[in-house]
């Protein structure tokens, strides 16, 4: 097979995975509505929590409360987006096990990168759409001060963050391959740790030293910092380029490392006969 036809084959397969995700979300639309409402409620709760800081005497000035509100809302909104992207990529294998299609997908003549990228890109597309709708709900219900925001810079950081997030997702997707019984639950544990150490709702400096070290290795930390700088401190694109570069570099390392680790886990699963088991 020539390189051109191989590339066309992978593109067709990529589209297949993207379309399948679309069909699944469409068929499970009730679940999606439920999760959407839950996400809106979560983000709004965090927004109102910040609004209430002044009322409970925790905010020293009105400006401080407004800054806290934007800080927390950005964290909550980004977490809903990033956790969706991370969750869908990391669940790519767990889901195949759940549906019982894992052997057919692994038998198909497509690269694993194509498989995982197809799933991730749909999640990216869907996550952006869902986050935009949540943002609209937030803006309608809570007055958010974004006078100093640089939206282009925030969007650039967010776009760069999708690369390492995909890499992290590939790493975590390995878990159900290693342990059919417990891998799925372990992905939730990893997600919880990321929430704890990545500075979603607080600066890393409030964490114990060991947690701070882990937090500095998380791409989510730099994403949150970068987006907050852009939206709260009006930091421009040029000043955020180092953050973008760091995120992309982390992404390359995580994706390449994730694919290598995934290939090793797949070989092990085939040697031990773990693909078939549903738990």
């Amino acid at each position: 097979m020539s390189a051109l036809s191989a590339s066309r084959w992978e593109k067709t397969a990529f589209r297949g995975f993207f379309e399948r995700q679309y069909h699944l979300y469409r068929r499970y639309w009730v679940w999606e509505v439920v999760w959407f409402l839950y996400s809106v409620a979560t983000v709004l709760s965090v927004g109102y929590l910040a609004s209430g800081l002044g009322a409970i005497g925790a905010g020293e000035t009105a400006d401080g409360v407004r800054r806290a509100q934007v800080y927390l809302l950005v964290g909550a909104l980004l977490w809903t987006f990033m956790s969706l992207l991370f969750h869908e990529t990391s669940f790519a294998i767990a889901w195949e096990r759940w549906e019982g299609t894992i052997e057919y997908t692994f038998m198909a003549p497509v690269r694993r990168l194509t498989h995982l990228a197809g799933v991730s890109f749909f999640s990216l597309f869907y996550g952006l759409l869902r986050s935009a709708l949540i943002l609209i709900a937030v803006v309608l219900l809570i007055h958010v001060d974004l006078n100093h925001a640089d939206f282009a810079a925030a969007a650039l950081v967010l776009a760069a963050s999708t690369v390492p997030l995909m890499g992290l997702g590939i790493f975590v997707a390995i878990l159900p391959l290693l342990s059919p019984e417990k891998g799925e639950q372990m992905t939730f544990a990893v997600q919880g740790i990321l929430l704890l150490v990545s500075g979603v709702y607080y600066p890393l400096t409030v964490l114990p030293g060991a947690f701070q070290v882990i937090g500095h290795a998380s791409p989510l930390t730099y994403t949150l910092q970068g987006v907050r700088d852009a939206l709260i401190n009006h930091t421009g694109i040029v000043d955020l380029l180092p953050t973008v570069g760091l995120l992309l570099a982390m992404g390359v390392v995580l994706i390449l490392g994730g694919l290598m680790a995934f290939a090793a886990a797949e070989r092990r699963a085939k040697r031990m006969g773990l693909l078939k088991r549903n738990g």
Partner: protein
């Protein structure tokens, strides 16, 4: 120019063994590991265009053999080649030439037959605009009602789902079709429709077909050659007539009687307590 791969047999298995281990107990209190031999020094050659049946009881190693051929499990020892390509070292090339129908028609249950078939055809590089027409034609040939094509798979009967599974494998035009208990659980009519379709696939496309079954009548009706597998070893190989003539102890002996004579076990004794195939491999990572 004709290459080695154009003339190689469809399947060539040499000295393949496979065992699975089961780690028992918990991480804290681990009990001794148990190993289960699924295939024991199996060698086999299938020529292009043959329909070969593999019969055996649950746990005889049939599904393990199919999984190795489908690149889903790697052998512990020995080599397996499909159309001259090694299933471990050249798995990507092998996968383009094979497809598999298993006992469980594995689909995204919320998606419709067409959505599942569309997904499968794209995985095999097919983006032609007439995909839907071809899918509908294949489903119609299998007798699937037209009004089920866009309904969620979970609303279809077991037999209808199995027909979609067969249509899925055919849409990818495999040179080697691996069928693992394709008609188990189907009603007699659906069984006959599936068997007729396999015959027409073989006649029209010249595909090589390997069918694992514990339905001896099906093996006899469908296959030009029958292998009997017991405890991971091939104990007999030939056409149904040859097996009856060579191993039957009386004129008109059935394949089941031949199997009983060769193995000391009958399909009526097929138990659930020693199965590898029916529930998948034996490996387990603690509990």
């Amino acid at each position: 120019m004709e290459t080695l791969f154009d003339t190689a047999p469809a399947i060539e298995i040499v000295g393949v063994s496979k065992s699975f281990r089961k780690i028992r107990g918990s991480v804290i209190r681990r009990r001794p590991e148990v190993r289960k031999l699924a295939l024991d020094d199996v060698s086999l050659r299938v020529q292009r265009g043959e329909i070969v049946g593999i019969v055996g009881l649950n746990g005889s190693g049939k599904s393990t053999l199919i999984r190795i051929l489908a690149t889903l499990t790697t052998p512990d020892t020995g080599t397996v080649r499909i159309f001259g390509r090694d299933v471990v070292d050249e798995a990507a090339t092998v996968r383009r030439q094979i497809n598999r129908v298993s006992v469980d028609a594995a689909f995204a249950k919320e998606m419709s037959p067409w959505e599942n078939l569309s997904f499968a055809s794209r995985l095999y590089g097919d983006s032609a605009p007439d995909r839907r027409q071809r899918a509908l034609a294949a489903l119609a040939r299998l007798g699937l009602p037209r009004d089920t094509v866009d309904r969620p798979m979970k609303q279809l009967s077991r037999g209808q789902q199995q027909k979609v599974a067969i249509a899925r494998s055919l849409l990818t035009s495999p040179s080697l079709l691996l069928m693992d208990e394709p008609t188990t659980g189907l009603d007699p009519r659906s069984k006959r429709e599936v068997q007729a379709f396999v015959r027409s696939l073989h006649a029209d496309a010249g595909a090589t077909v390997l069918v694992c079954t514990h339905d001896l009548d099906e093996a006899e009706a469908l296959c030009t050659r029958v292998l009997m597998l017991d405890r991971g070893r091939i104990v007999a190989d030939g056409s149904a007539a040859q097996l009856r003539a060579h191993f039957g102890d009386h004129p008109g002996a059935t394949l089941e009687e031949v199997f009983l004579r060769l193995t000391g076990r009958s399909f009526g004794d097929d138990s659930e307590d020693d199965k590898i195939d029916a529930e998948g491999p034996f490996a387990e990572v603690g509990s």
